[in-house]
């Protein structure tokens, strides 16, 4: 990162994920911030490090039947079923607003085969404003009988390599926590050329409504997010930080600047705010403010001093 003279009362919050340079480490997590515009009344969008949009597939998906969400202790389960407008409508309807704002857009993509991932990445490759692609490998691999790409290092590497070949922008691979050893997955996608990894996606969970004796979600199982999962996320970020050299984006239960900085101490170069956006739509910007205050108060040269700065022993 080039040295820039930072004004005295400004603080240096810049971080980099490969060639993606961000003015600060705070992004929004895919699926929790719509396509960005939904939050315009609450967040000064260009103040964010980046906006990560809802996962985009090759063709539009209408998602799962309701109920799709249920609250749990300090968390929630969702089974949205990856509802999205599809890559073409995303480019024509959603990107113009975001690229006009000038906020870096990270497009979260999902496919059911390696080829599908490539094709989505190809379409996004030259779209103005697309700063990076985040590859969601937590969806089942239909061609291989429903095993998630996210649980198979070889498949994850194959998807990563294919997406890398299909576009020039940095490629971030989003890891699933539902594995025995997340570092295996991180190493595999690093070897395949990933510019960064983001973690964690949701933990697989379930809720039951005793009154009706039915699952609370029509889809029976769903993804657990929110403060409840933060300890698992922090542990996995810490483990992955020991295992790879590419930058890490920490995700999971972040509701405050303190949470975000804990992820940075554990080794994350940036963070994503997810479920917290639902409770406090200004959460992402609040995290930017809080980090800036901390860096100023602690007299740090830059926020980068926090990355991996956990003290041990």
């Amino acid at each position: 990162m080039e040295p820039v003279i930072v004004k005295k009362d400004e603080v240096d919050l810049r971080v980099a994920i490969g060639t993606l340079e961000l003015k600060n480490p705070v992004m929004t997590a895919s699926g929790t911030f719509g396509y960005g515009r939904e939050f315009e009344s609450f967040v000064d969008l260009p103040r964010l490090g980046a906006v990560v949009v809802k996962g985009i597939s090759l063709t539009p998906r209408s998602g799962n039947p309701p109920p799709r969400i249920v609250e749990t202790a300090c968390g929630m389960l969702n089974a949205i079923g990856l509802e999205n407008v599809g890559v073409d409508r995303f480019i024509s309807e959603k990107m113009p607003y975001l690229s006009a704002l000038g906020v870096p857009v990270v497009v979260n993509i999902l496919g059911e085969s390696v080829e599908e991932y490539s094709r989505i990445a190809e379409r996004l490759a030259d779209v103005a404003g697309v700063a990076a692609i985040e590859v969601n490998i937590s969806c089942p691999n239909v061609k291989k009988g429903g095993v998630a790409f996210g649980a198979d290092p070889k498949m994850a590497a194959a998807v990563t390599a294919a997406v890398k070949q299909s576009c020039q922008v940095p490629v971030i691979v989003k890891l699933s926590p539902n594995v025995t050893d997340v570092t295996l997955m991180a190493r595999a996608v690093q070897s395949a050329g990933a510019d960064g990894v983001s973690l964690i996606n949701t933990l697989i969970g379930m809720a039951i409504d005793l009154r009706s004796r039915r699952p609370s979600l029509a889809n029976v199982i769903g993804g657990l997010s929110g403060p409840a999962i933060k300890p698992v996320a922090l542990r996995m970020v810490y483990q992955v930080a020991q295992a790879v050299t590419i930058p890490i984006i920490g995700i999971g239960g972040i509701t405050s600047a303190e949470d975000a900085m804990e992820f940075m101490l554990a080794g994350a170069s940036a963070v994503q705010v997810g479920t917290a956006n639902f409770v406090n739509p200004r959460a992402s910007e609040d995290v930017v403010d809080g980090i800036a205050n901390y860096v100023r108060e602690q007299n740090l040269d830059s926020v980068r001093d926090l990355i991996g700065a956990l003290l041990l022993g």
Binding site: S41, R68, I69, E71, F278, V279
Partner: protein
């Protein structure tokens, strides 16, 4: 679109019937921007359990900046909300969603059942505001019994409206369903029914209106996480296939657009 996230003061808590509570907030920004059928999302506790906000229709606003909700205690969140003391601050998010599309007042029939009465008062007051008192909408309200319904009538009566009541046990008004009352009115084409209430009630009203070729707007409830179109959790199945989102496409829909079998 003006939307606000504000810490506002709870001014008054009124227990209108067993488990039915009306809260009055001092929320001038939200009240000024609100339209009938819109809702607010309320953060119940400053902590993280329960984590999510709860959605409530706007029951009434006033020019002094106050905003009311009317709700029933059905679970943990509403129980805690009913216990908040006047003077405390709560975070409100709103106004959210698309409200009712107001047509001709004297061709409007408002049908509220149970807590579905909440948005009907706000709607009625807007109908009355935009018109001469002679052109008043028809109002049908239903509940389980007199105890539940009676405390909710005053608001409508204060607007000079006559209310056709229906109770499940016949303790007030018609002994039976609001749909019976609605049927009895034999509304002419050109009328619009505005409705909110339990799903079976709205399904029956939709059915009736389809038959009578009367247009019908319904306000639906779903589980919601964000209330602002971001989580896609509030899917409402459409007759044409696919889903709409209650918080951003609704909560008010043309009843004929929805899939009622689900």
């Amino acid at each position: 679109m003006s939307q606000f996230q504000k810490k506002v003061e709870l001014v008054r808590t009124e227990v209108l019937a067993r488990d039915v509570v009306r809260l009055t907030f001092d929320a001038p920004d939200i009240a000024a921007a609100a339209l009938p059928g819109q809702f607010v999302m309320i953060q119940i506790v400053p902590g993280q359990d329960p984590l999510l906000r709860r959605p409530f229709s706007i029951h009434q606003t006033s020019s002094d900046g106050s905003l009311q909700i009317l709700f029933k205690v059905v679970g943990r969140g509403t129980k805690l909300l009913a216990e908040v003391k006047a003077g405390e601050q709560l975070s409100l998010l709103g106004p959210l969603g698309k409200g009712f599309v107001l047509g001709d007042p004297d061709k409007a029939c408002l049908v509220g059942g149970g807590m579905g009465i909440a948005p009907m008062l706000f709607l009625a007051s807007r109908f009355c505001r935009q018109t001469q008192p002679v052109q008043a909408p028809t109002v049908i309200l239903g509940a389980r019994n007199r105890q539940e319904l009676e405390p909710l009538l005053a608001g409508f009566q204060n607007l000079g409206l006559e209310v056709l009541a229906a109770t499940d046990d016949g303790s007030l008004g018609h002994h039976g369903l609001v749909t019976d009352v609605l049927k009895g009115l034999s509304l002419a084409p050109g009328f619009t029914v505005y409705s909110c209430g339990p799903r079976p009630m709205m399904a029956a009203i939709n059915h009736l209106c389809l038959q009578e070729k009367i247009s019908c707007q319904v306000s639906v409830e779903t589980v919601m996480a964000c209330g602002m179109g971001a989580c896609l959790g509030c899917a409402v199945p459409l007759k044409a296939g696919g889903y709409a989102h209650a918080c951003s496409d609704g909560p008010v829909f043309e009843s004929g657009d929805l899939l009622w079998s689900l």
